[in-house]
Amino acid sequence: MSVNSPLDSPADLRSTLPTQILIALAGLFLVFLEGSLSTWSIFYASVPLPTIAFIYYMRINHPHLLSLPVILLMGVFGEMMFFDMLGVRATGLMIVALLSQLNLSSQQHVEFTELWSNFCLIVLVYILFRLAVFFVFYFSFPDWRAVFFQAGITMFLFPFFFVIMSSISASLSQLFGDNSR
């Protein structure tokens, strides 16, 4: 007897789709958080970029849970919210995601300092990409101090982001069992 009806096949209880949706929502929340931080005068025009740290962490540890379309959505969402130039942030974040995946297998087993230096490099690439697009469209550069302060504060806060995300990841693994890998 052959199994033809979908009702005959067993339910996919180990699907990662719900987790992917939750992670997408977390990413969108981080975009909100980034914007909210700009209300603090110390971070005006130089808000740290937790979204990059989030993408980097997820693409190293759980690459299939954060897909490129979700990253595109995060970028476009931020651009819509803050009247940023459409597509620039989204493309920048996707480049970050692709760069994070280079030498993925080796990155999963390296020391933290090496992860940190890779992250710094990725942040620089992201900032340079945005600067390049800005220059192409306006033939000028924005305030260098603010741009490099933003890059610097993001790099400096990476250990902080990393510890938070590792803790959340470990807690969720303990709660629900690690079926994400």
Binding site: W40, Y44, S46, M81, F82, V88, T91, R130
Partner: protein, 307 residues
């Protein structure tokens, strides 16, 4: 063997989809640059829907900022009192001076028959958020079309001009700050009345461009909106000329501290008034009368211009 080729095909498909999605990102950049009406409409409506969420989210962060400010103020209370007393004294002197100048101004206006621009109403709105990066200097504020806010309305604080409205949702609006690279404000030097443009540079300073060669702005000179183009009312302080400008290149520092905006006022036009259409150039074009002696602001005679 079949399994290996299937894996290879899957890998190639994944690579192709990655390339396609990156291409989509670049296409989005170019679509945005074309500035399609449909894209702008989608952007306005999407952010209009999401703005209340964002508004709610900024509330606790604002509370943290207020708390930090409170602690800082308490720590420096004594210095603050001394500073405020001195400032109060200075303000009293300025108030007396302003009263004298106001009466003098009133008298001069009756003599000159100057036209006072039509009154505008002020709507106070809370500043919600900026993009938080140096690539775009905009501001999301509470209140939109429900309060008669329209595109082009100037946004000010007690210190001066903050920017102008670029898009209006139902309950939220977006302000293009004077520091944004897309901002061009027609201005006048307060002491010499030479016209120019305050140009945003996405930094903490503005560029003072298109000044006539004869103009020699002084350090700390106040720069005001000129009202040219009938989009912004004249006389709003924009910035002060910086020291150390050489080679005819001048910069301004905004009179408003743009990084510390919490509330702003939008100068809305009275109901029923017609908004200036900057594209309707015909309304502003009047042929120049050919006179040898008629001197224009730029330092030319009208005859020079006609020739």
């Amino acid at each position: 063997m079949q399994k290996r080729s299937a894996t290879k095909r899957a890998g190639q498909a994944a690579k192709l989809s990655n390339i396609l999605i990156i291409l989509l990102g670049f296409i989005l950049i170019f679509v945005a640059k074309i500035d399609l009406f449909a894209v702008r409409t989608v952007q306005t409506s999407t952010s209009g829907v999401l703005a209340p969420l964002f508004d709610a989210m900024t509330a606790p962060l604002n509370a943290v900022q207020t708390m930090v400010d409170g602690v800082r103020t308490a720590a420096s209370l004594r210095e603050e009192t001394i500073r405020l007393r001195a400032e109060n004294e200075r303000l009293k002197r300025w108030q007396r001076r302003a009263e004298i100048l106001e009466s003098e101004n009133r008298e001069l206006r009756t003599v000159l028959g100057a036209v006072i621009p039509p009154d505008r109403g002020a709507v106070t709105a809370r500043a919600i958020a900026t993009p938080g990066n140096s690539f775009s200097h905009t501001l999301l504020i509470r209140h939109g079309a429900e309060k008669r806010i329209r595109r082009g309305d100037p946004v000010v604080t007690a210190d001066g001009l903050v920017g102008y409205i670029i898009d209006v949702g139902r309950g939220y609006s977006w302000v293009l700050l004077i520091s944004d690279v897309n901002s061009r404000i027609p201005v006048l030097l307060s002491s010499s009345s030479w016209p120019g443009l305050a140009i945003g540079r996405n930094s903490s300073e503005l560029e003072l461009g298109f000044l006539p060669l004869q103009a020699q702005p002084r350090e700390n000179e106040l720069v005001l909106t000129s009202g040219h183009g009938d989009v912004l009312p004249p006389g709003l302080p924009v910035g002060r000329v910086n020291r150390g400008d050489v080679g005819g290149h001048y910069t301004l520092r905004p009179v408003v501290e743009l990084q510390k905006l919490s509330y702003v006022s939008i100068l809305v036009r009275p109901e029923g008034s017609v908004q200036a259409d900057v594209k309707g150039f015909d309304r502003f074009y009047n042929p120049l009368p050919e006179q040898d002696s008629g001197r224009l602001l730029e330092g030319f005679t009208t005859k020079d211009i006609v020739q």
